[in-house]
């Protein structure tokens, strides 16, 4: 059974106790985001997701979306859930109040997104894209475009998409064929075909706003010649009312491994009316606003499924009986003990748990910085926060989705054969989780972004925002008796990460292939150490409160410390192996000719 109760205690621990999110309410524009308000919203969000979205998860997987004559129908119940979801304002929680949003911190949106995706990933795809489209339009759209489109994207009556991929190119967007021809009056005619467009067509909203990459007639070659256009499914008249259908249609939807409840469409543009967003030929830069947001969102999907996997596996492990405990002094009268007594099973559960709790802190820390980067009064503080977000984006995206997928697999493993059959819902989690490693830039691309772009930017200034606080934390706490066994392994791993970073930067300058060959290992290593840093911070907070109160919060904090220790003993050491792999560079990979494969 897919089991999910929003981990509200944990969320609060991260938000309030570890990250001190109260600081948000001191930023101009976020005055309402007090701890009480945050908690109230989280509880409401949890209820909605647990009660409305979780029951639809299996339905969506089994019924899937259907396509007929250009029309896509979402699984039974999705439309009603969507209406309730947007009606309650969950979509626009951190959108600009000027356009109908609630103006709460982006952090809140992250947490809600986590709950939505934990309970129904396929359902979560459409709101994620609408939020991304709205952010892009808010940042790069003209006033008129903003006035026309943002309120509808905020209230969910219209949804959004991002149209990048074509049949022959996804990652390498310089190769796209879709054309835009100027038709006067600021209108362009868009022609071409896009594929893998999530929520490209559906029955949830009355209009769909496509953000489409295309080339103008005078476009320079490659990525420097890509422009961005807003293309509505239904044209919007001057008075804001919906007009006739635009020249965009859904050609088919894909049959695919998971997220059956979300339609993945081929979209055909036939002289569709479109409006230029941002400057001509500079559309990719605008699109990155949406992609960066979406990458963080996809990272949350990985975490979200990991959480459901852990909760489901734990429930099963407590219930299912098999074998007797090997623990000394354990002698139950039962013929068999619950499998949770077995070290291997516990190890699997704790692997999920330790990662989930640490990754949650990392994601929320990033979200908090996203809010600082937009709302802090001091420009330098904003820039620093933005740079931390830039650095963490590929890590959140790739590391959290890789580990989320692994967590769903572990859930199958804990279930044994019952995990492999549809009835328990575990195999669905695996199938659903798999996409997150692929879309919004496959995880290998994230690794290249990290080593190729983020590492060297401003001579490593992005790194400063992580390494300086982490090193200072270690220096401040490594002599602390209670924290020693947590901080010392972190210090060691952090030192190795610094060394690896220097080596990659140096080797990569002379030979970019050296950096590319170890990029994935490096991202994983960075992810492990970053989560390790989060655990050390959480342990420090918990240590102060882990007193004798065995039933109440004292136990919660004591368990935090235990999980921190588990992380340092069992998960972080993987970084040492990754370090060794990184140091061997590209030699073992580069020794083959293409024909030798």
């Amino acid at each position: 059974m897919q089991i999910y109760k929003a981990p509200l205690r944990d969320m609060r621990f991260v938000i309030h106790e570890t990250l001190d999110a109260e600081q948000l309410s001191k930023l101009p524009g976020y005055e309402e985001a007090t701890p009480d308000t945050i908690d109230a919203i989280l509880e409401e969000g949890a209820k909605f997701c647990e009660d409305k979205l979780l029951p639809l998860n299996r339905v969506g997987d089994e019924a899937g979306c259907t396509y007929e004559n250009g029309v896509v129908r979402t699984p039974p119940g999705f439309k009603q859930a969507y209406d309730e979801f947007v009606g309650a304002g969950w979509l626009s929680i951190s959108s600009d109040p000027k356009y109908g949003g609630q103006g709460l911190p982006a952090l809140m949106n992250f947490v809600i997104e986590e709950m939505v995706c934990s309970t129904n990933l396929a359902f979560g795809v459409c709101p994620l894209l609408s939020g991304g489209a709205a952010a892009l339009i808010a940042r790069h759209g003209s006033e008129a475009i903003k006035d026309t489109y943002l309120p509808h994207l905020a209230d969910g009556s219209w949804s959004g998409t991002m149209c990048l991929t074509e049949s022959h190119c996804g990652t390498d967007l310089g190769l796209i064929h879709t054309k835009a021809a100027p038709a006067g009056d600021g209108v362009y005619r868009i022609s071409g075909s896009k594929m893998f467009i999530s929520a490209g067509e559906h029955d949830l909203a009355e209009n769909i706003i496509h953000l489409v990459l295309a080339k103008l007639p005078d476009a320079p070659e490659g990525v420097r010649g890509i422009s961005l256009f807003l293309v509505p499914k239904i044209n919007v008249k001057a008075d804001g009312e919906l007009g006739p259908r635009n020249g965009v249609s859904c050609g088919s939807i894909e049959k695919k491994m998971g997220i059956h409840g979300s339609a993945t469409c081929v979209l055909n543009f036939d002289e569709a009316e479109g409006y230029l967003i941002g400057e001509a030929h500079k559309g990719l830069r605008c699109m990155f606003t949406m992609m960066n947001g979406a990458r963080l969102g996809v990272g949350m999907q990985g975490l979200a499924l990991g959480e459901t996997a852990y909760q489901s596996a734990t429930a099963y492990a407590k219930e299912r009986r098999s074998g007797k405990s090997l623990a000394k002094g354990a002698k139950s009268a039962d013929k068999a003990d619950p499998i949770i007594v077995h070290p291997d099973v516990r190890n699997m559960l704790l692997t999920q748990r330790a990662h989930n709790e640490g990754a949650r802190a990392l994601a929320y820390w990033t979200a908090l910085n996203l809010d600082i980067s937009t709302h802090h009064p001091d420009a330098e503080t904003r820039r620093d926060a933005d740079e931390l977000v830039q650095l963490m984006t590929p890590i959140i995206k790739a590391f959290l989705t890789d580990r989320g997928f692994e967590a769903t697999n572990l859930a199958v493993q804990v279930h044994g054969g019952h995990g492999y059959i549809a009835e328990h819902g575990m195999e669905q989690l695996v199938r659903d989780a798999r996409i997150a490693q692929l879309y919004e830039g496959a995880n290998g691309i994230q690794a290249l972004d990290l080593v190729g772009r983020k590492l060297g930017q401003n001579t490593g200034r992005l790194l400063r925002h992580f390494f300086h606080p982490a090193t200072e934390f270690v220096a401040a706490h490594q002599d602390d008796e209670t924290l020693k066994e947590i901080v010392l392994p972190l210090a060691k791993a952090l030192g190795k990460l610094q060394q690896a970073t220097l080596v990659i930067a140096q080797k990569g300058l002379g030979d970019p292939e050296e950096a590319a060959a170890v990029a994935t290992d490096y991202l994983k290593m960075f992810g492990l150490v970053a989560v390790g840093y989060m655990w050390a911070m959480m342990a420090e907070k918990a240590a102060a409160k882990a007193n004798g109160d065995a039933d109440g919060d004292g136990r919660y904090y004591a368990n935090k410390l235990k999980t921190a220790r588990f992380y340092m003993y069992k998960l972080l050491p993987e970084s040492a192996a990754l370090f060794l792999r990184i140091m061997t560079g590209k030699a073992a990979i580069a020794q083959y000719d293409d024909e030798d494969f």
Partner: protein, 777 residues
Amino acid sequence: MAIDKVAVIGAGLMGSGIAAHVANAGIDVVLLDIVPEGAKKRSELALGAVERMLKAEPAAFMEKRGAKRVACGNIEDDLALLAEADWIVEAVIERLDIKQAIYRMIDGVRKDGSIVSSNTSTIPCRELMAGMEESFQRDFLITHFFNPPRYMRLLEIVSGDRTRAEAVATISDFADRELGKGVVVCKDTPGFIANRIGTFWIQAAVVEAFKGDVTVEQADAAIGRALGIPKTGIFGLMDLVGIDLMPLVGKSLYDAVPSSDAYRALYGEPELIKKMIADGSIGRKGKGGFYRLNKDGGTPVKEVIDLATGEYSTALRPTPDSVRAAGSSPRALFEHGDAVSNFAWQVMSATLTYAADLIPEIADNVADVDDAMKLGYAWKQGPFELIDKIGAAWLAERLAVEGRDVPEFLKLAADKGGFYRVAEGRLQYLATDGGYVTVARAPGVLLLADVKRAGAPIHGNGSASLWDIGDGVACLEFHSKMNAIDPDTLAMIGQSVAAVGKDYKALVLHNEGSNYSVGVNLGLALFAINLAAWPMMEDMVKQGQDAFKALKFAPFPVVGAPSGMALGGGCESLLHCDAVQAHAESYVGLVEVGVGLIPGWGGCKEMLVRGLTDKRGGILGGGAMPVISKLFQTIGLAKVSRSAAQAFEMGYLRDTDRVTANRDRLLADAKARALELAENYRAPEPREINLPGKSARVALMMAVRGLAKTRKATKHDITVVDQLGIVLTGGKTDSTDAVSEDDLSALERRALATLARNPLTIARLEHMLETGKPLRN
């Protein structure tokens, strides 16, 4: 004959620049001009010129006191001064009648055997000599300097039919050894070599740009990096030289070249340029030219002219697609095919074919032409080297395809495989008879480039290599970007010390980059700091200290031979040498304070030790404080010498160190010095000094705090020089304790470890790397 006294007649830009540069060589010089009407002082033209030279930017004098060697006068009262001159240079207006009148005046007073030369750029030697006394003709030649005379290395020498060979030899040798010039002996043809080709080149660009397919900025981007041409491009160059000169030079060349010369077809003066000259928009010396700085809005905005309308608009500094795609490949630039690429092709193909057509008219030897364009126009490669880079066959083929004439000499080169080749490790050029001739080097010239052509390094990595330069001497060459010092450089120093100790007598530190070394690789340092990789950063400091210490105490002599900038760690490498043989154009300084650091690779240590001890290690009298105060200022203000001469004043060079005027002779001189030291060489012993400790530091800082109050020092300046003060005063010591060299190294390391963690230092480093300028925070 020795040149001990020089006279220059004509105190204009060129005459006064030549006089200043002669003074730079330590030679007394007389500078004369006319007595202008209504003059307050009869020699005011020469006096005013020296004043201007003292303020010139870049500096005309290598040290201010050089001006004292220039005696100012006028041709009415002071002609008698010429009687003492061994060499008299005429640098007056380009009018034959006036020049000849001057020559007659000179001839009346000059001593027998003295040499007279003209700095003319446009009048042939035979015309200058027509009708002059034969004895005068025998002593006369043209010495054509380029502006500014101190910095432009080219000197074109043209002799007449009757000129004595010894006169040419004497001036060539003097210009080469004392003035540091690259002498190219030219035929008596219009514009000689450099301006013949250079003027054509500029005209070709003007004609092509006025066709309207490219903007001024695109044109300057096109004629740039891929072609090895300075980033001023052509329009920027005209602004620099003075647009008003263009028609003068152009017209005189037009009149002088043969009627069949390609320049005649190209010649012309666009209306806009006429109008600009009439308006005074003649370039940087006027109110702007093709580019100008508009200061109307407060912050100056760089603007650029539209050749079609004459209107200015904000400069955009574009990088055209073809230029970006070409990188450093000229052929890729030509093959791209956009408007900018086409512009570059039209201008350069015309210029390169013109150059090929001029052999043997202006020179018998392509190497001379290449040298002239490199030394006189700052091209990275001369026209024939550039053709080889493009591919002679490719060029000939494309010209043929376009139906253009292919010069015979170019066809020959295409056939033979290029204008140059390397045979048996030697560079050879193609002669017009189809044979290859080895490029000859004068005695006393040793080029590392030649050594490198002849064989492989003893050791080498990505940042430095060790070469065998003969006679038991090795040369350590830095060759990283800007010759910045990184861990690879330091590792190579270690390897070199081992290798030289085993198999060689001495080591020279030298390279042929534009700058000896700009110091530590700041990018790497900042990256490590951003990573908070403190142990690694501290290792790098220690590694540098150890490498330089190994140089100092090596069992063989080490001679530093810098040219251009030797900053920070580059300067520190020289401070650890037994001797320095510096190029006259050496810009030496400990500049670390500018990026919020202090010298940490033994710079403080060596400056203290050499200030406080004598040659035998004894303590000098006079107390430590005056030495420390001077060092505190020199390092605290990050002073950089603007010549080798100034580096002596600042204490970066010792009086036992020596100077070479000509870059091409630097390595040979350094090698000779190294061999001299290698006789009975004994490595120095580590020294101990006494330093005053905290009380002295407090005294130093009181003065600095005064500066802070008057805002001459910033908050972070105080923090940085406080750390400097700790090192220079010996840390926690007092004058009764001996401080060892290793103690000083440890103090340097501690100061750096403190400063590197300071966010304000990080901001300085970042600013320097991103803007190339120091941040005052």
